[in-house]
């Protein structure tokens, strides 16, 4: 599904394990220029599916932000489909080899390059002059997440065992560059004028010399948070950790708490997030049977039993919310 409807919530799970909740809120803006996409690819015929989670944030103040964020997601996933699912099977009768992380990383960056070229063509053809979008994409490959980004929509990994939160992606903002160089502090970066000024994004004249692709091992019960800066921009790392670790209840409640925390700090921008719980039904049952009381076990314990078909609930979901 690709959606940039005004506001909405959806949740679901995948047969390979893992469940998610997605929320997109217009907040105080006139339009919701954020888009999100949750889908799956099957690299090996009749093999396990590869969940794809993605968020794009049409850049504020520029024209057609919503159009561009939708196109960025659409083109990225079409390119992934081609390189992961179609090309390996073209004129081949045998079963394709499973994809390695390295191959997926290359495919993912190639997809972002194609999306960038397409958006630049789209902007030029329509005479929009200046338009762009951030993007963050995560592919779940067994016990590994492979991710890539352009712009400042981040991907966080909450390690449930170590109870640590790690920001996997690097922001391509002026503030992000200065922060990494140690020229400003994280606190300064959150309030820096260049925190939203992007050097690289989908639709930019050039892409970073060092490709922004990452992979990270996941463990049962870990969380992934993909979001726009409307969710994470106002929150300190400690506050995000606290929300992911202690919100309690279910994924949806955690997502609500994340949205609310930003607004409580005066966030006015569109807010979109995908919260992914990494695990299987078996893990959940084992955890429940063992009477575990860890935070994450509590969090997922209240979630409905997984259903192969994701459900849609609440908000003005619009036609784009159908999965």
């Amino acid at each position: 599904m690709i959606s940039s409807s005004t506001s909405g919530t959806a949740s679901g799970s995948f047969a390979t394990g893992g469940r998610y909740v997605v929320k997109s809120e217009i907040n105080h803006r006139d339009d919701n220029e954020d888009s999100f996409l949750i889908t799956e690819l099957t690299p090996v015929l009749a093999g396990p599916v590869l969940p794809v989670l993605a968020i794009a944030d049409g850049m504020g103040g520029l024209e057609h932000g919503g159009d561009v964020s939708r196109e960025a997601l659409r083109r990225t996933v079409l390119a992934l489909l081609e390189s992961i699912q179609i090309e390996p099977r073209l004129n081949r009768s045998d079963t394709a080899e499973p994809m390695t992380v390295e191959v997926l990383q290359k495919a993912l960056w190639g997809a972002l390059e194609q999306a960038n070229a397409q958006v630049r063509r789209m902007v030029q053809a329509n005479g929009w002059h200046t338009a762009g979008s951030t993007i963050v994409v995560a592919l779940l490959v067994g016990e590994t997440v492979v991710a890539a980004n352009l712009g400042d929509s981040p991907l966080f990994h909450y390690d449930a065992t170590g109870q640590k939160l790690v920001k996997i992606t690097r922001d391509h903002s002026v503030a992000g560059v200065l922060l990494r160089a140690g020229m400003i502090s994280p606190e300064m970066a959150r309030h820096h004028e260049g925190r939203s000024r992007l050097e690289f994004f989908v639709g930019a004249p050039s892409l970073p010399r060092e490709i922004s692709v990452y992979n990270r091992p996941l463990h049962q019960g870990d969380l992934l948070l993909l979001c726009t800066d409307g969710v994470s921009g106002s929150l300190s790392h400690e506050r995000l950790t606290e929300l992911l670790a202690t919100a309690g209840g279910d994924l949806e409640r955690t997502a609500d708490a994340l949205i609310k925390a930003g607004r409580d700090l005066g966030e006015k921008d569109n807010q979109t997030l995908i919260l992914w719980w990494h695990g299987s039904e078996q893990t959940e049952r084992q955890s429940a049977d063992a009477g575990e009381t860890s935070t994450v076990a509590q969090m997922v314990g209240a979630v409905e039993q997984p259903d192969r078909s994701p459900t849609v609930s609440g908000g003005d979901t619009g036609d784009g919310m159908a999965v």
């Binding site: 006139d30 504020g60 103040g61 520029l62 024209e63 057609h64 005479g127 929009w128 002059h129 200046t130 002026v174 560059v177 200065l178 990494r180 160089a181 140690g182 020229m183 400003i184 820096h192 004028e193 260049g194 925190r195 939203s196 000024r197 050097e199 050039s206 970073p208 010399r209």
Partner: protein, 395 residues
């Protein structure tokens, strides 16, 4: 669409014929048009998809709102709101090419570059005298006209009413030309010295044929950050060890002072650079009866526009002025904002630690600092309001 006509209501122009599409820039489509009635040529910028209340709209209005009287600035004639999301801006037309294209072609000789540099410096000096900081100075924003004159364009993000243009705190400008303090501290710290830093890169590019970043193979901000993080830290934004300039030999020291990392180590005004290059800028003409009559302050913007106040000061006297003397309802002016004084025949002004500052010739006066001498014709910005200081016969 070429050959078609569109109705306009901008100044004396009521209908124009679209003659030629000149190109689409980062911020609008530009057409060469002719006034149906007079046949006079203009440039018409069409800006679409402007969201009401957005930064883009503020930029559009700003571009017309900035009126700089200079032969080196392309003047905007007026603005028309075609519909809530489409704006038209009418400019004087000049048969011209952007400087970045000419540099790319290597089409300029030493004499051309000499002239272009001087004219750009004079244009920026004129803007600063009007308390307008351009904030995006680069070759693409200089038109080299067939009449032999260079003119500055794109004042859409200039610091005129910065609150509107950077409403969401967006950092603005073009990275390779942007002063370090703008990166580190933000656009609101950009003043005339930030433009001088950009002009230093501009000077270097004219002299060396390529921007410093290009010569170094830099593509990203992190390249600059890496350069700035060296130990010992560089004091200039450009390594000038191999600098040479055929149209202004021996000027490495001037460029060096223009691109100092610390703004307080740069030239304070573009006029100072012109003087060092051997060019004495024209000063506003002083009237022959200077000293016989008192100067006046003319309010040039805001709700009290047109109001005049005579500064009747005796030698050694001073006068404190604030919101109620200048524009009663404007909260951007402090109650006690600035102080005028007279020493002999020289009038001076100083800021009284006002909330939004006092600007003179593009530089913010030090809060509660020493008084700065005033020249006939100077523009002073207090809060969001412009004042003109002038000696007049008819008061």
């Amino acid at each position: 669409m070429e050959g078609g006509s569109i109705p306009l209501e901008i100044g004396p122009v009521h209908e124009v014929e679209l003659q030629r599409f000149l190109g689409g820039g980062g911020f609008g489509l530009m057409w060469k048009v002719a006034d149906r009635a007079s046949g006079r040529l203009y440039a018409l910028k069409v800006i679409r998809n402007v969201r009401p209340g957005s930064i883009s709209e503020a930029r559009v209005r700003n571009e017309v709102g900035v009126a700089i009287h200079s032969e080196f600035v392309v003047p905007a004639i007026g603005l028309q709101e075609w519909n809530p999301t489409t704006f038209l801006i009418l400019f004087e037309y000049f048969d011209a090419r952007p400087l970045d294209d000419l540099l790319l072609e290597g089409a300029l000789g030493s004499a051309d570059k000499h002239r272009i540099l001087l004219e750009v410096l004079q244009g920026v000096s004129d803007a600063h005298r009007h308390n307008v900081v351009h904030r995006d100075l680069k070759p693409a924003n200089v038109l080299v006209c067939r009449d032999g004159r260079s003119r500055l364009i794109d004042f859409g993000i200039s610091k005129f009413k910065d609150v509107n243009v950077t409403g969401t705190g967006d950092l603005i400008g073009t990275y390779p030309y942007m002063a370090p303090e703008t990166f580190l501290r933000g656009s609101k710290y950009a003043d005339a010295r930030s433009d001088i830093y950009s002009l230093g890169h501009f000077f270097y590019e004219l002299a060396m044929g390529q921007h410093f970043w290009i010569r170094r193979g830099w593509r990203e901000l992190s390249d600059l950050v890496h350069y700035l993080s060296a130990v010992p830290a560089p004091t200039e934004g450009i390594d000038l060890s191999d600098f040479s300039c055929d149209f202004y030999p021996g000027t490495a020291a001037i460029v060096r002072r223009m691109v100092k990392i610390a703004p307080e180590e740069r030239y304070e005004s573009v006029d100072d650079i012109l003087v060092e290059l051997g060019h004495i800028p024209e000063l506003p003409p002083a009237l022959p009866d200077l000293g016989l009559r008192s100067p006046v302050l003319i309010v040039e913007s805001g709700s009290n526009r047109g109001a005049r106040t005579v500064l009747g000061l005796a030698g050694g006297g001073c006068r404190v002025m604030g919101r109620f003397d200048i524009a009663g309802e404007d909260n951007t002016i402090s109650r006690k904002h600035l102080e005028f004084s007279r020493q002999g025949e020289t009038y001076l002004v100083r800021d009284l630690a006002s909330r939004n500052g006092t600007w003179l010739r593009g530089v913010r006066l030090e809060p509660d600092g020493p008084p700065a001498p005033l020249r006939h014709g100077d523009r002073i910005k207090v809060g969001d309001v412009f004042l003109r200081f002038a000696f007049m016969r008819d008061v």
